[in-house]
């Protein structure tokens, strides 16, 4: 158990493999189509949806502009309510805190609430190295964990699996992790959910320590909020004695009443419901109710790197609703794995480069290009992140980061050649003459508007024509046409 995204190929390579999987594409088209319909209905019910989003964006921007002050306030409020606050610069810091807490109590098994932050830092793998088993309790995360698989969606990590595949995973893998699946398990979603209920219940009842994330952290009061559906979150947040929550520093909101925006936006945008079944809120330790030892780990892990980019820091507004994944034509066809991160889709294509930085890893540098820039993600974002704008901004950052590379890319060479040609009228005329010749010689499929097109070129031109037609150059350049009188009445005839 414990596959990670480390070593994944860059998006263009990974996408090709994913596109060849017709089962995956069917599963994704069905699931994203369903959720888009539900969301549209839930959003249409609130007439002031756009305004709520704009105000939520303003709250987040305000908070980010004074993030240090809000974090200190959050720490004070949490400490005053009996919670222990830890700070983590990176994944290693955060994982060490969680492992230390477990070790201090002699605990070798923890239950987990679905949490993007703990996925991001690879907590399960880090705990496994210390001999601590971390059990995912969200149904989709359980499917991914039992199947030794990788998450492919922020909200529904097993979106790439259909019911028959899930039944097979439960039948073959559940026994090794605890209570086995019933012998007569069918692929009915209700039966599969019931099997997960029985399997996990013995873990909930005996768990001494839980690990969670948080959707929001209120600076003024020290309140943490977890939004969920199944009740696995409530189980983890209520029954064990010890609770550790790993919270990204961008999750802070200044005041309790700010939640009146986010609790309206998140469920409708995420699962397309008026409200998710369960929301848990806790403020430090409540004597006699729930965990009596509460830890909160405030996690940077690249967030300050993103914050330093004055334009792109808007990505830190993200509330992880995953609406941008569900509307993205690229995501719908290739799925989440090709993005090589726990954050896939359009938000992943900006968050990963922002958290990790560009210019070091070709996998990360390819992500801002994993988009057609159609703009659907930006339109649907409930906190008004201009995802297409940030994608373009990051493409520039990637190019800038490679300007001093000793081996320029083919694209850079082509653009340099074009600049040289276009920079001088005589060179341009010669190039136009050559192109006109090619336009007369080559014949291919037609393009819209009646223009001829080349549909196949040898390497390296095949890298273009493999997926697109290349319009044929016009037989005559504008300047040649003008010289022979094309701009006059006679010339036109």
């Amino acid at each position: 158990m414990g596959r990670t995204f480390v070593g994944m190929p860059p998006f263009p390579v990974a996408a090709r493999t994913a596109l060849a999987d017709s089962q995956l594409r069917r599963n994704l088209a069905h699931a994203t189509g369903t959720i888009r319909g539900k969301r549209a209905g839930a959003v249409a019910e609130l007439e002031d949806w756009e305004d709520l989003g704009a105000q939520a964006a303003a709250v987040k921007d305000r908070t980010l502009a004074h993030l240090d002050e809000h974090l200190v306030a959050l720490e004070e409020a949490l400490s005053a309510r009996g919670a222990t606050v830890h700070w983590a610069r990176d994944a290693a810091d955060a994982c060490a805190v969680v492992a230390d807490v477990a070790r201090r109590h002699g605990i070798d098994e923890v239950v987990k609430v679905k949490s993007m932050a703990t996925q991001e830092i690879g907590l399960n793998e880090a705990l496994a190295e210390q001999g601590i088993a971390a059990w995912e309790t969200d149904l989709a995360e359980l499917i991914v964990q039992l199947g030794d698989d990788l998450p492919s969606h922020i909200l529904v990590p097993a979106i790439h699996r259909n019911r028959a595949e899930i039944r097979d995973i439960f039948r073959t893998r559940m026994a090794a992790a605890g209570r086995p699946a019933p012998d007569d398990l069918t692929d009915d979603p209700a039966a599969l959910a019931a099997a997960a209920r029985l399997h996990l219940r013995e873990k909930f009842l005996s768990a001494r320590m839980a690990v969670s994330g948080a959707n929001f952290a209120v600076a003024e009061t020290g309140t943490l909020v977890v939004v969920e559906s199944e009740g696995n979150g409530r189980m983890c947040l209520t029954l064990p004695d010890v609770l550790v929550s790993v919270v990204g520093i961008e999750k802070v909101v200044p005041t309790w009443r700010d939640l009146d925006l986010f609790l309206r936006l998140l469920p409708r945008s995420s699962t397309g419901e008026r409200m998710n079944p369960y929301t848990s809120m806790w403020t430090g330790v409540t004597p006699g109710d729930g965990p009596q030892e509460v830890h909160v780990v405030l996690l940077d892990n690249g967030r300050t790197r993103a914050l330093a980019d004055e334009y792109a820091r808007q990505a830190l507004r993200c509330i992880r609703c995953s609406a941008c994944l569900n509307v993205c034509p690229v995501y719908e066809r290739v799925g989440g794995h090709a993005y090589g991160s726990v954050y896939p889709g359009p938000i992943g294509a900006i968050i990963n480069p922002l958290l990790r930085g560009v210019g070091q890893d070709p996998q990360v540098d390819a992500l801002p290009y994993a988009s057609t820039l159609c703009g659907a993600c930006g339109d649907v974002c409930p906190v008004a992140i201009d995802i297409p704008g940030v994608l373009v901004h990051l493409r520039t950052a990637v190019v800038d980061a490679h300007r001093s590379d000793t081996r320029p890319t083919a694209e850079a060479l082509a653009v340099r050649a074009a600049a040289w040609t276009l920079g001088d009228a005589r060179r341009l005329a010669l190039a136009e003459k050559a192109a006109g010749g090619a336009g007369r010689v080559r014949r291919g499929r037609g393009m819209p508007g009646g223009r001829g097109a080349v549909s196949w070129l040898p390497f390296a031109g095949s890298r273009w024509t493999g997926a697109r037609d290349l319009p044929l150059p016009p037989r005559e350049s504008f300047r040649a046409w003008w010289r022979r009188g094309g701009g006059t009445e006679e010339g036109r005839r």
């Binding site: 069905h30 699931a31 369903t34 959720i35 609130l46 002031d48 305004d51 709520l52 303003a58 921007d61 305000r62 502009a65 993030l67 240090d68 830890h86 700070w87 983590a88 610069r89 149904l139 989709a140 529904v156 097993a158 019911r163 899930i166 979603p189 209700a190 959910a193 019931a194 209920r197 909930f204 009842l205 009061t221 559906s229 199944e230 009740g231 696995n232 409530r234 189980m235 209520t238 029954l239 520093i249 309790w256 009443r257 009146d260 699962t271 008026r274 409200m275 998710n276 079944p277 369960y278 929301t279 848990s280 806790w282 409540t286 109710d289 729930g290 940077d300 300050t304 914050l307 330093a308």
Partner: protein, 201 residues
């Protein structure tokens, strides 16, 4: 330097000496009615709770105990919190039952802090009559008594009325999942059945 100092220094360095101008938040959304024109708050609450496939029964103040007994059906062991102020059949008072003991209980009866019509949500702040969080979580049936005058119109009103220092559970229908092909299934780890007894008149 501690990790705390490192993270705070990184935040300050990222923001730089010139903080962005103050962004204004327009709070007029708090004054808007979140409900469809002409909707009755209590009727809409009942309708939207039922939309989640929870059961809603209405009764008058004199009939609460009968309505609760009917909602409990065949449940043989029923946990109740302190200060419920209702006669509940076959009840087991919560004197710090363990999780395993709660697992052997069929149902729980509680009151609520408030209800939200906009979303069909019941909020518990686990004060008197509601009990600690575990008792409304482990049993399979949750019968929740909500008075009509506890129902507020929207999420905005609810957040304004609630006390953030109390632990809270916001409940919108029975536990559910859409993790398999985004097909909604009611009933996973929390109570698989939610029955709201709405006391009107």
């Amino acid at each position: 330097m501690s990790t705390r100092d490192d993270v705070l220094a990184a935040v300050r360095a990222a923001l730089g000496p010139d903080r962005p101008l103050e962004v204004a938040v327009d709070r007029t959304y708090r004054d808007r009615d979140p409900l469809p024109p002409g909707a009755d708050v209590v009727d809409l609450f009942a309708e939207r709770v039922a939309d989640y496939r929870a059961t809603v029964t209405r009764c008058s103040p004199g009939d609460v105990e009968a309505a609760v007994a009917a909602a409990l059906g065949a449940a043989t062991r029923v946990v109740v919190p302190d200060a419920l102020w209702l006669d509940v059949p076959r009840c087991v008072p919560d004197h710090g039952l363990s999780a395993a003991e709660l697992d052997a209980v069929d149902a729980v009866v509680t009151r609520a802090t408030l209800g939200i019509a906009e979303t069909g949500t019941v909020v518990l702040d686990h004060g008197p009559g509601q009990g600690r969080r575990a008792i409304t979580l482990v049993p399979d049936l949750h019968v929740c008594v909500v008075a009509a005058d506890q129902v507020v119109a929207g999420v905005v009103d609810a957040v304004a009325a609630l006390n953030p220092t109390r632990p809270q559970t916001w409940i919108s229908g029975p536990s559910a999942t859409s993790d398999i092909e985004l097909d909604r299934v009611e009933g996973v780890h929390g109570p698989r059945r939610l029955h709201v007894v709405l006391v009107t008149g």
